[in-house]
């Protein structure tokens, strides 16, 4: 048996491009795929000069699960549970995007009650996603306590959503033409109580974190993304809203019944990590407003449109865009008339948002790179799909 020689290791395809020359004194660092602040299995190749980053390149594919291929092997309804696993933090938006695409393909009219329920659960899910991001971002910055406070509040949402859907994280609640089950009788009152509770907690969040001088030092003027850069990379969601462009699919191309609600799209012009942070904090309030209006105006009626036992859309293709917690989710479905989709394309917002990272991280410190990475709010399973 040959002795193991660590110097013979040449690295993989991604690190080969970072191999230093004989006189090169740069530090080549592989950050991840097991690193506390890459949130799962993202790997970033870094070329460092001291602690300054000269080049950063994300390496993907460590949690690629072939969701798009799986769609081609399953019937239309059988693919639905996969949507909760693509982005486990905002599963409802992915549910909606897929259900919406198939409904558009089939020309199904969703009952009003189902539409309102969809809005309420999606916005609740958005709040839970933002709260988790808030805690995890502060973990990246070295504060341990906020995530516990965020989880304390998030738990209430999970309880409400569990009463509605039966699960706590990977929801598979939407069906083609409606929702899986009706909401319990006390849904509206619980939602209203929660939004009241969350609004009363926001001042504490501000005192503990947002106003904190250390946090401001770590976020302000870090990773400044101007709107042109964001547009070039196709960054969406809070990332581009933090760069001064109030682009929101809920307003720009209203789906469902979003055009019936009155809500504000928060936008900040600074474009730095703090602006993205502030956008998400403001979106908590926006989502609370939408939930209030949705559960107060919840109409009576059926929750499921008439759809055949086997979903068989006619030949053709359809595209549906939804505003997820991380940005614009687009699902493109093509049907050949059979019981299984011919092709399903998932457009994950996180992929575009991550692409900006190479540009943002250049010339910053290693600690800033962690802060920027956190402020982009990445969910790696969604990026790899």
């Amino acid at each position: 048996m040959q002795a193991f020689d660590p110097t013979a290791l040449r690295g993989d395809l991604a690190s080969a491009r970072f191999e230093p020359g004989p006189t090169d004194d740069k530090l080549i660092l592989s950050m991840g795929p097991q690193h506390p602040s890459t949130h799962g299995v993202l790997r970033i190749m870094l070329e460092l000069d001291g602690e300054y980053i000269l080049r950063a390149e994300p390496v993907l594919g460590y949690i690629h699960r072939m969701h798009e291929w799986m769609a081609e092997q399953k019937t239309y309804m059988q693919f639905m549970p996969n949507m909760g696993r693509v982005d486990y933090l905002h599963a409802m938006a992915w549910n909606w995007a897929y259900a919406g695409a198939v409904e558009r393909l089939m020309g199904v009219e969703v009952p009003k009650r189902a539409e309102y329920i969809r809005v309420a659960v999606t916005e609740l899910n958005r709040i839970s996603s933002h709260l988790l991001w808030w805690g995890a971002y502060l973990l990246d910055l070295g504060a341990f306590t906020p995530i516990m406070y965020a989880f304390d509040d998030r738990e209430i949402i999970l309880d409400i959503l569990q009463a509605v859907t039966g699960s706590r994280l990977t929801y598979s609640y939407f069906t083609i033409g409606g929702v899986y089950g009706d909401v319990p009788a006390d849904f509206a009152s619980r939602c209203l109580a929660f939004t009241r509770h969350l609004r009363s907690r926001l001042p504490m969040y501000r005192d503990l974190v947002t106003d904190n001088v250390i946090l401001r030092g770590r976020c302000e003027d870090i990773g400044v993304m101007d709107v042109e850069l964001a547009r070039r990379y196709g960054a969406t969601g809070p990332c581009i809203r933090g760069s001064g462009a109030p682009v929101d699919t809920r307003r720009a191309e209203p789906y469902g019944v979003y055009n019936r609600f009155d809500f504000r799209i928060p936008a900040y012009t600074e474009g730095d990590a703090m602006a993205r942070y502030m956008v998400r904090m403001d979106e908590l309030v926006t989502s609370c407003d939408i939930i209030d209006q949705a559960v107060q105006g919840l109409p009576e009626g059926p929750i499921q449109a008439k759809v055949g036992k086997t979903v068989k859309p006619p030949k053709g293709e359809a595209c549906y865009a939804v505003e997820g917690a991380r940005g614009k989710i687009i699902i493109h479905v093509r049907s050949d008339g059979g019981p299984k989709p011919y092709r399903v394309k998932l457009r994950a917002p996180g992929f575009s948002n991550l692409s900006v990272f190479c540009d943002l991280a250049r010339g910053t410190l290693l600690a800033d790179a962690v802060s920027i990475l956190g402020s982009l709010d990445l969910v790696i399973p969604e990026i790899d799909r």
Binding site: F4, P6, T7, L27, L29, H35, P36, S37, G50, E51, L138, L139, D140, L141, G142, A143, F144, T145, M148, Y149, D152, L208, V209, N212, I214, L215, G217, R218, L365, L366, A367, D368, V370
Partner: protein, 329 residues
């Protein structure tokens, strides 16, 4: 020299041996207690109970953790400098024992009373950073190397204002002996140097947190940036010794702070040593509380804070102390 003389506490070598034994016992025990306090404070800050199941209120949890750490295999990574790699945790622990010697536990309680105790502590506490460098360098790990580089810059930057703030008190007291400095303060808060010279106390506290690598200045380990910094590659008791040294360092800086700024052992009703312990634990609690509240600062901000704020302020404070002492004396 007869046996009686050798066993007497007045004989320096006997005193040193007994003192070191006491220090090891004290550091070991306090390390365990502090781990428990840290986790309890963290838990209650975060609305959860903290360790609960082993022993009453989880009091024995650190002991079980220590047993687990001792039982773990010691692994040295490929390409590491084995000698430096294993020397580092021992070296982290060595200065701690020396720094404990001159602490004034009570009016007549010290391992080795000396008139330059403050100088000894400051000199040996600077040695601790050497172990971090060796650990980072010896483990042949890039994260460890970055952590080591950070620790050098950090400790150099914060040694300066720390020294200056201590100097201000030493000049006011006119002594470098921790006993004399403590004795010159009274038992009541308004007689303490911490109240008479709050600026020096504040600077000392900030520098103490930075010197002991505690959050929000825990940059050499910064687990969300450098995975674990200088002790990334350490397992078992190698890590355990670094851990213990960190808590021992906290006890030392708290002890120095209590002696310099909070009147040392002096206080009403209770015997001296208890007051000293109470004061140490108050400061320790404050340091732990800081850790569970704030995010971590960035490296350049850390250095900026030291060179642009603390050092000038400490110089100003020193000048004021000199003037007051000059006119007063």
């Amino acid at each position: 020299m007869n046996l009686e003389q050798l066993l007497s506490l007045d004989y320096p070598l006997t005193r040193l041996v007994i003192g070191l034994l006491c220090i090891f016992a004290f550091v070991g025990l306090n390390g365990l207690v502090l781990v428990w306090v840290e986790r309890k404070v963290a838990g209650h800050c975060q609305l959860r109970p903290g360790p609960l199941h082993v022993g009453p209120h989880g009091l024995l949890q650190p002991l079980v953790d220590a047993v687990k750490l001792i039982g773990k295999q010691l692994v040295a990574p490929f390409g590491s400098d084995k000698a430096l790699f294993w020397l580092a945790p021992l070296l982290a622990f060595a200065p701690v024992t020396v720094c404990m010697l001159p602490l004034p536990w009570g009016p007549d309680m010290a391992m080795i009373p000396m008139n330059t105790g403050l100088v000894l502590i400051l000199a040996f506490s600077g040695l601790g950073v050497l172990s971090l460098i060796l650990a980072g360098w010896g483990s042949n790990n890039k994260w460890g190397l970055l952590g080591a580089a950070r620790s050098v810059a950090q400790s150099v930057a914060y040694e300066v204002p720390l020294l200056l703030s201590v100097m201000a008190v030493a000049i006011t007291a006119g002594s470098l002996d921790l006993f004399q400095i403590s004795a010159q303060q009274g038992g009541w808060p308004w007689q303490w140097y911490g109240v008479k010279n709050p600026l020096a106390f504040f600077i000392f506290l900030v520098c103490a947190v930075a010197e002991t690598n505690r959050a929000p200045f825990d940059l050499p380990e910064a687990e969300s940036e450098l995975t674990a910094g200088f002790h990334t590659e350490y397992s078992g008791m190698g890590f355990g010794l670094f851990f213990l040294a960190e808590y021992a360092n906290m006890i030392i800086v708290s002890g120095v702070a209590a002696a310099l700024f909070l009147g040392g052992w002096q206080g009403p009703f209770l015997p001296g040593v208890w007051w000293f312990l109470v004061k140490i634990y108050c400061i320790l609690f404050f340091i732990i509380w800081l850790r569970w509240t704030y995010p971590r600062v960035r490296f350049d901000q850390l250095l900026n804070l030291s060179w642009k704020w603390l050092t000038p302020l400490a110089l100003l404070d020193l000048a004021l102390a000199v003037i007051v002492a000059g006119f007063g004396g």
